[in-house]
């Protein structure tokens, strides 16, 4: 897959005549196959590749979850084990801790691909980079954001989160972390070429996370008080829709900057 992408795209992007030459030559058949396979094939291949990689590197999937649980453990120790007090601050704590865990996992989103050069191949591919990076972000959410959302109710029990808000907590986190992955990927793409981009990445991304945090934690608060949560969740969905529409272009532009620099 990757060697073939390289072969065809070098020729298609650099010089059209080179491409014609390449097809006339008794080249390996894979060169042609890429051109038959359109966008969906490339997106699917990227999805499968990233899922496989992350499943093989289980640490990258598990570490954010462990971090999430650890940070949540710190708060009762630092503030008070009183369940009544914890119940009041639980929605905010859970959201902030999940946000930080998601942030922590961002650095590895493009890092290994950058180090081993496969990110360059992604850039050279004839398919639009925005779509391929969207596929990568989707995998990141699937194996970071979604597990965080599923684990949050469990930690909610430990923080004495009032009953009736557990489903909203998981749902708001699932919706919200998708936006967080998309926005964060812009920062990750901008800093992937820098040797020590970790702290800088959080500096760039955290201010942009604030709207998601407001409506995500707000949804859980509203569920506890008994207000309607649909407005909060609808806005989270709207933020996700806007991020889905705009972020891939910014990610693609940022990746190009990082690779060329």
């Amino acid at each position: 897959m990757h060697s073939s992408l390289q072969g065809s795209s070098h020729s298609s992007s650099d010089s059209p005549s080179g491409y014609r030459q390449a097809t006339r030559m008794p080249a390996p058949s894979v060169t042609l196959r890429v051109h038959k396979g359109g966008l969906m094939v490339a997106v699917k291949a990227t999805l499968m590749r990233d899922v496989t990689l992350l499943i093989r590197r289980r640490g990258e999937v598990l570490n954010p979850l462990v971090f999430f649980a650890l940070v949540i453990t710190l708060f009762p120790i630092a503030i008070s084990p009183d369940p009544e007090l914890l119940a009041v601050i639980a929605p905010g704590l859970l959201w902030v801790a999940a946000l930080l865990a998601a942030l922590l996992s961002l650095d590895s989103l493009f890092r290994s691909d950058y180090d081993d050069g496969s990110l360059e191949q992604l850039l050279l591919a004839p398919q639009p980079l925005a779509a391929l990076s969207l596929a990568k972000v989707a995998v990141h959410w699937l194996l970071t954001g979604l597990p965080l959302a599923l684990m949050a109710p469990l930690l909610g029990i430990m923080l004495a989160l009032p009953a009736g808000s557990y489903a909203v907590l998981a749902l708001s986190l699932a919706l919200g972390t998708a936006s967080l992955s998309l926005i964060g990927a812009i920062g990750a793409a901008l800093t992937v070429g820098l040797a020590r981009g970790g702290v800088l990445l959080s500096l760039l991304v955290l201010p942009l996370y604030i709207p998601v945090l407001i409506f995500g934690a707000g949804a859980v608060q509203a569920a506890i008080v008994g207000d309607g949560v649909s407005a909060h969740l609808a806005i989270l969905g709207a933020l996700l829709a806007a991020a889905l529409m705009l972020a891939p272009w910014a990610i693609a532009a940022s990746l190009r900057i990082s690779i060329n620099g």
Partner: protein, 250 residues
């Protein structure tokens, strides 16, 4: 039109035209700020509720205006740089960022000082204060990102992208912070007494705002000029320029 834009894009031409424009903006800035602050601080009537402490408004509001406008002009310059590859736009954006961050800080600090007599506290998690604080972080992010790259071209393009991403997010952040504030705290303290302000109070404010804008333009022109010299130091026209100046000095 296009010829004009392309001319403007040439650092040499910009260096020439800005030399002519710059003094006018400096004169305007000094005149407006001096007269505005004299009028506002000494002659405008004291507020019937806040007394003389309201006079902080003559620094606070222009700084807050500028803090937001500079971010927008930084993003527009970034867009111009990314689309038309006009280097001067990027130099201007790079020079604007620290001033924007400084103005955001001035707005926050003067707001905090103002908060002591009016609210009785240095800081409140008021919607405006909070979104200004976030704006400061956005500025610091852009400045830090530009500083982190070793290649200047990558730094310019990365900072442009981040400025554009930030400017799309500023209204979203602003409205969500407003929503958050109204949900959490019923409007206990508001500063929305503007429309009832008498003319002799808001006129100096308008003068101050105009003065701050002139200052921003003058300072950006000046700093962009030195940045042009720095980045184009190896170009022939810069050498000729310096030679001519040295000759003149002799």
């Amino acid at each position: 039109m296009w010829a004009f834009i392309h001319k403007l894009g040439s650092p040499k031409w910009f260096y020439g035209i800005s030399a002519k424009l710059q003094p006018w903006f400096w004169v305007a800035a000094v005149l407006l700020i001096v007269s505005g602050s004299l009028w506002g601080l000494a002659f405008a009537p004291a507020d019937y509720q806040q007394g003389n402490s309201f006079r902080i408004i003559y620094v606070h509001v222009p700084a807050a205006f500028l803090a937001q406008s500079i971010f927008i002009s930084m993003a527009v310059s970034g867009l111009v740089f990314m689309v038309w590859k006009i280097k001067v736009a990027d130099m201007a954006a790079a020079m604007m960022a620290p001033l924007g961050a400084a103005m955001t800080f001035v707005a926050l600090f003067s707001g905090a000082v103002w908060g002591v007599p009016t609210w009785g506290t240095w800081w409140m998690w008021d919607a405006r204060l909070t979104s200004m604080l976030i704006l400061l972080f956005l500025y610091l992010g852009v400045i830090a990102l530009r500083g982190a790259f070793t290649s200047r071209d990558s730094a310019s393009r990365a900072a442009s992208v981040l400025a554009m991403v930030g400017v799309i997010n500023i209204p979203i952040i602003k409205y969500s912070v407003d929503w958050w504030y109204t949900l959490h705290q019923p409007a206990s303290f508001t500063l929305t007494s503007r429309p009832t302000m008498p003319t002799e109070m808001w006129l100096p404010l308008v003068i101050m705002v105009l003065g701050f804008y002139s200052f921003f333009i003058a300072l950006t022109l000046m700093r962009t000029r030195s940045e042009i010299l720095r980045r184009e130091a190896s170009k022939r026209w810069v050498h000729d320029l310096i030679k001519a100046q040295v000759e003149e000095a002799r």
